[in-house]
Symmetry: C2
Subunit: 385 residues, 2 copies
């Protein structure tokens, strides 16, 4: 039994305001008549709603569109620029950031390289630089940032403390949420990077429209993100998706098949070895193909476990190795066909490197929508908070 709050007349207005905002956010600038038709309200009522929203700063009039019959209608749009969001992807080698408006439209992106072994301060400074870079590029003031969503590798507590991170040694035990809240005067959300990537693929990428999605991060390290019923699944202790920890999933050592392939020339940097093998496999090298086969054999076990447990609509292959999805997808599909009860769609990521930042943006948008634009959350505040 959810909320027991009964509704006042003002609540009705609030409901209608939110409906108007949703309609405006869904489809570009709209006239009063269009809004009225979409929402089912009468024109005069809609006028009052829009006037109120304009007064609060959530909605703004735009010039009428010319060339129509009759008296030109005034048009209104949602002011997605009343506030801004940043998404940050803190990886081993790079810190990426993106800045968007309240609709998740990306306005600026930056990247700051960091050494994997860099000390904590250096990495935090890179975050600072990445974000200020975005602010400068989009000419946005720090105070106009409403929410920052951060994706990083590692296992997190629900509050944003890092339990464990294989990729970034300095991260271990860090209260990342607390640190970033000291650095930035906005709300800070921390999430696992694979989960954010999954969200991005489900919102704007290869799994757009699907409500149940399994995202596989395949690369030097394995990771997963789950979208269940359209939302990021964290689990009770924010530890969902860690199947790589199970030896029988055969995921932990799977990348070694590619790294340790005989055909990789001595002296190749460890981070390039797998790429070399995958490229050789694409050319048809039999030794490389055999290594890929062994790799996919292992990959398919953990994947089949997730598919059998969750029965997702789509499985998305992302992460570094997904650049070679042409090599990986056919054999993976073949193994899953045999192992699964119902075969899901298996697709390659379409967002690539920007996947996590985009997911972070999407996550922030969703958080904001839950807070502001949901009927249960009280009246709309004045826009500039």
């Amino acid at each position: 039994m959810a909320d027991l709050r009964g509704g006042d007349l003002s609540r009705l207005r609030q409901l209608n305001s939110l409906t108007a905002i949703r309609a405006l956010r869904g489809a570009g600038p709209l006239t009063l008549s269009a809004l009225a038709e979409r929402t089912g309200l009468s024109r005069p009522s809609m006028k009052e709603v829009v006037d109120e929203l304009t007064g609060l700063g959530w909605v703004e009039e735009v010039p009428p569109s010319p060339g129509t019959m009759g008296r030109p209608a005034r048009r209104y749009r949602f002011r997605a620029d009343s506030g801004y969001l940043v998404g940050v992807d803190i990886g081993g080698h790079n810190v990426r950031a993106a800045l968007s408006d309240l609709d998740g439209e990306i306005l600026a992106e930056t990247r700051q390289p960091v050494l994997p072994g860099a000390p904590l301060d250096e990495r935090l400074a890179a975050i600072e630089r990445a974000v200020s870079g975005c602010l400068a590029l989009s000419r946005t003031a720090l105070d106009d940032l409403w929410t920052m969503a951060v994706g990083t590798t590692g296992v997190l507590t629900p509050e944003g403390r890092i339990t464990y991170s294989a990729a970034i040694p300095a991260w271990r035990g860090l209260d990342l949420g607390g640190k970033l809240r000291e650095m930035f005067p906005c709300e800070v959300l921390i999430e696992n990077d694979s989960r954010l990537a999954a969200l991005a693929e489900a919102r704007r990428g290869a799994a757009r429209g699907a409500r149940d999605v399994v995202f596989l991060h395949v690369g030097r390290r394995m990771g997963t993100g789950l979208i269940i019923d359209g939302r990021v699944h964290r689990g009770f202790g924010a530890a969902a998706g860690e199947i790589v920890m199970l030896p029988q999933s055969r995921w932990f050592d799977a990348p070694e098949h590619l790294n340790a392939c005989e055909i990789v020339p001595k002296g190749t940097a460890p981070e390039d070895a797998a790429g070399y093998t995958l490229a050789a496999a694409r050319r048809g090298d039999p030794v490389a193909l055999a290594a890929v086969d062994r790799y996919v054999d292992d990959l398919a076990v953990g994947t089949a476990a997730m598919v059998l447990i969750l029965d997702p609509e789509v499985v998305v292959l992302g992460g570094g190795f997904s650049r070679s999805s042409d090599v990986l997808l056919p054999p993976l599909r073949e193994r899953l066909e045999r192992a699964c009860m119902r075969m899901p769609e298996v697709r390659a990521s379409t967002l690539g490197e920007e996947c996590v930042v985009m997911g972070a943006i999407d996550y922030a948008v969703e958080h904001l929508d839950d807070q502001l634009f949901t009927p249960d959350t009280g009246p709309l505040p004045l826009s500039p908070r």
Copy 2:
């Protein structure tokens, strides 16, 4: 972006009617003042709402509670008896049914034994008998049945056709939903039995209050049910939870460790073998304990996969073998401690044999609530439909 329907004044009333109903269903009979306080509405408004609901047949006045100061207040209750629900559990050896009111309060239960190899007609007749038995016991007319929820073993399509059932050979390929809709003049919902058991445990059993639950059906056959974010997780093709199909989960053959234990006397019925081993293990028989150890070793692999993937709050052990949870839980916990990232609560089912029927009832209640008592679903109809 959900619905774009704006709200009329009548919608406000509808909202408040639903709030009143929710309040009444949440806590026994209430006076107007109590209702007003809980919902935040004024007394006169609440009076009007309650009068309307009384007229529609959803609410009814009950005698005032004596022994209070001041003028005795009129009290109202939700008429949970405006309609009735049946839950059915179609197992290999038994068909169970339960009848409840709209609040899921169980009013009658029946059981009809069936032979596992019984032909289709016989099993359908048993269902018929089980349901009419419930109707007779509770003196309810067939026409007062609103919804029937059915749990059965096997893999289903989203529409309620049976893809595959190991336990009931005659079931294979059957359009069970269609058949039952011919037999009963009410809405029919079909679901996998383990999923319903999971729901029951999450609503009224060992996992009450938890939003993410993994239910393990351990018995001669293995099955699972997942509750994610408080709701039954079916998956895109209603095939979620079938990890037993993955050889590496080691679930499929796990029960064989108990069945084929050396100490089981020759000639024991196959369905009693595992029970014999478990009982011997409880007495401390070393051979039986070793078999249990091997069994739990295997059980823990698939369980760890689910826990690592989903990070549930609670894992519930149900099914036939859960009668021996005192023997199974400690070693299972020990293995999971080692394998899992975050250890969930591991508990034994508290509902036992009635688990699936109760889950069916809960499922029907939830379906009804979604249809009738949710703000987005339009106005409340007249109670006797």
